[in-house]
Each structure stands twice: as structure tokens, then as C-alpha cells.
């Protein structure tokens, strides 16, 4: 069964179309990166999936309509909407008590084990913690919930690189297994690159690319060419061309790797470069 299935998902705020007919399928056990520029509709899409906002079109999460069946859905779905949404007045131990009290699938000992590896004291209030520690606390609470879908919206925004790395390490090593699905949005594409199994590029309310990492590897190639090989390479119709350190780098979609290798150094592009090539190349409309 698909964890998330959307057909023609639309959402508008007044005249502004935030989601313009999204078709998406996320299978169980995937880690999907939802990547897009500011205002692309990432958060709106996540909010629709979490039943936080009404929508048009067809959307099923774990087989349920998230808006109509939100209360039931929230037993199987967890999310970190943003850093800094934990109430500042709450004590760490009270936060654990509360989640243990209301969530039937919360494993208290797991949260406490995770927290014991950090420098967070149970008696501290959230307002006394650093931003990184708040993110750790939130992650500890969420990871101790036996949920089937975890949604992370910019979970590491504003954290330093050590916390960011630790965050994704914990997520992969202590939490993820084949039965869970994770959907994550982030601007720090480089850091999630090795974590993801699938990527979805979204721009101005539409999905521009939806592919597994294997597909990305087989479809896209980046070629670094010397000036003499530039013209034959251009003949293969690159998606994008850019200059780096005096060399020209061309990005190809669905061009045979062997033909490219003959012209220069071919490799799989990074997600960040791919994103710039695909989303950055789209003609910018007058309306964001």
C-alpha cells in the first residue's frame, strides 16, 4: 500500500495557487526529500498531508483522508513542523509525561534513553535549552513514538552543523526501518543527500521531478568538458550549462553514460546541482 497518494491535489489562498495539481505516490519504507525554493508549496503540501489544512483533489495518507480523519490519522503519523514549536514553558520531564499520557504508541523508556545521551536535564524548561537541544528533545519525543509516517518540515533550520549531522544520524540509526516512511523538507540539500531514497522537486505548486535515487543516478549525468569537446557535448542537448573553475559543466538527462564518458569526465550530479539545473532553469513567471 502506498503511504501517501495524491491525485490532482490543489490548494489556493485567495487568488494565490499554492498547490497546482500535485500527483504523488510515496511507498512505505521510503525516505523522501521534498525540495523546492521558498514559497514553492512544500509546507502547504505537508500541511495537507497532515490534515492541518483543507484541500481540493484526492489525497490519501495511510489510506485515510487526512482532513476528515485527522484524529485517527495522528496515531500513526508524527511530525516536526519546525524547530521551536515546543512550548517554551514546559519542562522536559513534563513534556515526556504529556506525550506518554496522550499517545498510545509512545515508548517512554526509549525517549529517556535517547535524552540520557544528551546534556538535556529532565528538570530544565524548554526556554532554558539551546536551539539545538530543543531539536534534540523534539526528536527524542518523536522517535519514541511508533509511527508509520514521520513528516519533518525544515527540522534542522537554524541548527549548527554538528547538531544537523547528529539529527540525521539519529534518525537513520535509531529510528528508520523498512516499515516507516519519512518525508522531509529542507534547504540544506547536501546534508540529506545520502539519507534520502527518493527526491521530489516542487516549484510553484507543481512537481517538477519525482524520482528514486537509483533513477536519478541512471538518468542524470554531469559532464566536465574541455573547450575542445564543448561543441560535440552541446549537440547532445544538455539540460543546463555552467562554468566552474574555468571548465564547463554540462548536465544531461537520459543521455547514454558511455557517449558522455567519451567526451570527458562524467559523474552523477549532486542533488543540489540537479535542483539548480531543473528548478533554476524553469522560466520564472511574474507571479511567485
Amino acid at each position: 500500500m502506498a503511504c501517501i497518494e495524491a491525485h490532482g491535489l490543489r490548494k489556493s489562498f485567495g487568488k494565490n495557487l499554492a498547490l497546482d495539481g500535485i500527483d504523488l505516490r510515496v511507498d512505505d519504507g521510503r525516505i523522501v526529500g521534498l525540495i523546492g525554493p521558498n514559497g514553492a508549496g512544500k509546507t502547504t503540501a505537508l500541511n495537507a498531508m497532515l490534515g492541518l489544512t483543507p484541500f481540493q483533489g484526492d489525497l490519501r495518507v495511510l489510506g485515510r483522508n487526512p482532513w476528515n480523519e485527522r484524529d485517527l490519522l495522528m496515531r500513526d503519523v508524527c511530525f516536526i513542523a519546525d524547530v521551536a514549536v515546543l512550548p517554551r514553558w514546559i519542562r522536559v520531564c513534563n513534556a515526556i509525561d504529556y506525550v506518554a499520557g496522550v499517545h498510545p504508541r509512545f515508548d517512554r523508556s526509549k525517549a529517556e534513553r535517547f535524552l540520557s545521551k544528551t546534556s538535556i536535564r529532565p528538570a530544565s524548561k524548554v526556554r532554558e535549552l539551546s536551539k539545538g537541544m530543543v531539536a534534540q528533545l523534539h526528536l527524542a519525543l518523536v522517535m519514541a513514538i511508533d509511527a508509520r509516517l514521520l513528516v519533518l518540515d525544515e527540522p534542522t533550520l537554524g541548527l549548527d552543523i554538528l547538531y544537523r549531522k547528529q539529527f540525521y544520524d539519529s534518525l537513520l540509526n535509531d529510528y528508520f526501518d523498512r516499515n516507516r516512511t519519512i518525508v522531509v523538507t529542507t534547504h540544506q540539500v547536501e546534508e540529506v543527500q545520502d539519507v534520502l531514497t527518493d527526491i521530489v522537486f516542487i516549484d510553484r505548486g507543481r512537481i517538477v521531478l519525482s524520482a528514486s535515487m537509483e533513477e536519478v543516478e541512471s538518468r542524470f549525468a554531469e559532464l566536465m568538458v574541455s573547450p575542445s569537446n564543448l561543441e560535440p557535448a552541446r549537440a547532445l542537448k544538455p539540460v543546463q550549462e555552467r562554468q566552474a573553475l574555468g571548465r564547463t559543466i554540462l548536465l544531461f538527462d537520459r543521455v547514454d553514460r558511455a557517449r558522455l564518458s567519451a567526451l570527458g569526465d562524467a559523474r552523477t550530479p549532486s542533488i543540489a546541482d540537479l535542483f539548480v539545473a531543473i528548478v533554476g532553469n524553469r522560466p520564472q513567471g511574474s507571479v511567485q
Binding site: L50, L52, T53, P54, L62, R70, D71, M74, R75, D76, C78, F79, I80, A81, D82, A84, V85, L86, P87, R88, W89, I90, R91, N94, D97, Y98, V99, G101, V102, H103, P104, R105, D107, R108, S109, H138, V142, D146, R148, D177, N179, R180
Partner: protein, 307 residues
């Protein structure tokens, strides 16, 4: 491991009570109340502070101050005089609880949107209905009950202390106890709290919670200015006072419209005949209004995003 069933067969800790409690909404409700008390400590600190002040004043006065004379018990003295401080204590505690409840109601659904913590609360399986009901229960149920218990405790202390003072000054303790009807006072108080603070004021709290769920900014102004504004508008335009009369009727309590059937003892000012009270259309209209406000607040909380 992640099957759709709601029981957790392979969870090591507490799987039994988990399975037993998934179906009941009482657990999320209880924990929602608990978190309100964690967040809003003024709910109990303010009444306790007032009580501390009251007791200090009473001890001082019973020992040396202005009520020294009443403690010289005189058989011809009216019981009201002796019972005055007890009535004051009850009034003060109720008054503070009422004010605390007003401020709490205005802020509770607005504050969670302002500090964005609503996104955290909504990430847990607690429905909007349970959240709003738990927030409504604080001013409508918990605060009146708390002020009752607090007042009774204060009155007991006051009577015990008076007894000591009276006995020490060689007067008749029996006389004191025959004039102060502790049980009558506390049962009158409970009746007053249930009829007025829980039922009669319910639409006030309902309105405030609705504004709190709706306002994007300045919920305090939105709560008070529209009713006042409409009243002023009516007065200037139509030269009538229906709106302000309605507000006065609601705030003043059911007695402000219905004549009080006099108990002769202390606490009579609080009491309205049950038959009169429960047959007043104002009560039922108010309760329906409160229910509508809460239903609207539940709905708004579903749609509202952080501000």
C-alpha cells in the same frame, strides 16, 4: 511491527495499559487539563496569594485590629456582624478566581497560536474537541471547585483561630459557634458557585474562548470592545439600552433580574431559589450560546494556523 492495529504486541513497556486506554478519550482530556495547569500557574497561585493575604489580615485583625470588637461576643449582637469576615473571604476568593478565569480564557487558544506551539499540540492524537473542552473546563469547572475548597479551608481556619482568641479572652466559645454557621455558609457557597459561576457565567467564558480562538491579534480588545461598542452605538442611535441591560443581566448574575428569596442567614445574598433559577430562560439561552461558542472555537482551531 507497524501494522494498522492499535495494539502494540511487541512493545516492551506498558503495552497492556496502552491497549486499554487507546479507546477512551478521558486520558487525553486529563493530560490536557494537566498541561493547562503546568502552563498557567497563576490559576492557582493568584487565589492562593489572595488567601495568604486574607489570612494574614484576619489574624492581625482578630488579634488586635478592627474586628477586635466583634470578637467580644455580645448575646444581642447580630450574627451577620460576626460572619462578615467569612463572607468577605468567600467573595475575595471568588472574585480573584473569576478574574483569573477571564484572563485565562482570553489567552488560552490565542497563546498557543502566537508561540506556534499549536503545531506541537496538533502533532499528537488529541482532537480539537478535547483540547477546547479541556480549556473550557478550567474556568467553568476547575476554578469554581478550587475556589470552593479554598474558601472552605480559609473559613475553617478563621473559625478555629477565632475560637482560640475567644477562648483565650475567656468568652463563650459556644456563643461564637452558634453564631457562625460554617456548614450553612459552605453549602450556600457551593450552590452559588454551581448556579452562577459554572452555569450562569458559562456564556461569558464561551464568548472569551471563541474570541481567543478567532483573533489574530489583541484578543483582549476583541473580547470587550464589540459588546461595549454595540451598547454605546445602540444608546446613541436608538436611545435604548437593551444591549447594556443584557450585559448587566449576564454579569450581575441571575439575581439582577429575579428577586432574591431571602434566606435570613449569612450567604443569603448568594442564593436564588432553585425553581426560579432553573426556570429562567436566560439560563438556558446562555447555555446554548456557550455551547455554540465552544463548537465554533473547535472549528476555528481546526482551521487556524500559527500567527
Amino acid at each position: 511491527m507497524n501494522t494498522t492495529s492499535n495494539t502494540m504486541p511487541d512493545s516492551p513497556a506498558g503495552s497492556h495499559d496502552v491497549a486499554a486506554t487507546t479507546a477512551t478519550p478521558t486520558r487525553p482530556f486529563f493530560w490536557s487539563l494537566q498541561r493547562e495547569l503546568w502552563e498557567n500557574r497563576s490559576l492557582y497561585i493568584a487565589p492562593l496569594a489572595v488567601v495568604a493575604l486574607l489570612l494574614f489580615g484576619f489574624v492581625l485583625s482578630a488579634t488586635v485590629g478592627i474586628w477586635q470588637r466583634p470578637l467580644h461576643i455580645d448575646p444581642t449582637q447580630t450574627p451577620e456582624k460576626l460572619a462578615d469576615p467569612y463572607g468577605f473571604a468567600a467573595l475575595f476568593v471568588m472574585g480573584v478566581a473569576f478574574i483569573v478565569g477571564i484572563f485565562y480564557s482570553i489567552d488560552c487558544l490565542y497563546g498557543e497560536r502566537r508561540d506556534r506551539s499549536i503545531l506541537f499540540w496538533k502533532s499528537l492524537p488529541v482532537s480539537d474537541l478535547i483540547t477546547v473542552l479541556s480549556k473550557a473546563a478550567i474556568p467553568m469547572v476547575l476554578l469554581p471547585l478550587f475556589s470552593y475548597l479554598l474558601t472552605v479551608a480559609v473559613q475553617c481556619f478563621m473559625l478555629l483561630y477565632s475560637t482560640l482568641v475567644v477562648a483565650a479572652s475567656g468568652q463563650s466559645v459556644a456563643m461564637l459557634w452558634s453564631k457562625v454557621h460554617l456548614f450553612r455558609m459552605s453549602s450556600d457557597l457551593l450552590y452559588h458557585l454551581i448556579t452562577v459561576h459554572m452555569l450562569w457565567y458559562a456564556p461569558i467564558y464561551g464568548w472569551l474562548l471563541l474570541v481567543s480562538a478567532w483573533a489574530r491579534r489583541a484578543p483582549f480588545l476583541w473580547a470587550f470592545l464589540p459588546p461595549l461598542g454595540i451598547g454605546v452605538f445602540e444608546r446613541f442611535t436608538f436611545h435604548t439600552t437593551h444591549v447594556s441591560a443584557l450585559l448587566h443581566y449576564r454579569l450581575g448574575g441571575p439575581e439582577s433580574a429575579a428577586p432574591v428569596k431571602g434566606h435570613e442567614a449569612m450567604g443569603s445574598a448568594f442564593s436564588i431559589d432553585p425553581g426560579v433559577f432553573f426556570s429562567a430562560p436566560g439560563l438556558w439561552v446562555g447555555l446554548v450560546f456557550a455551547a455554540l461558542c465552544l463548537a465554533a472555537a473547535v472549528r476555528l482551531r481546526r482551521y487556524r494556523e500559527p500567527i
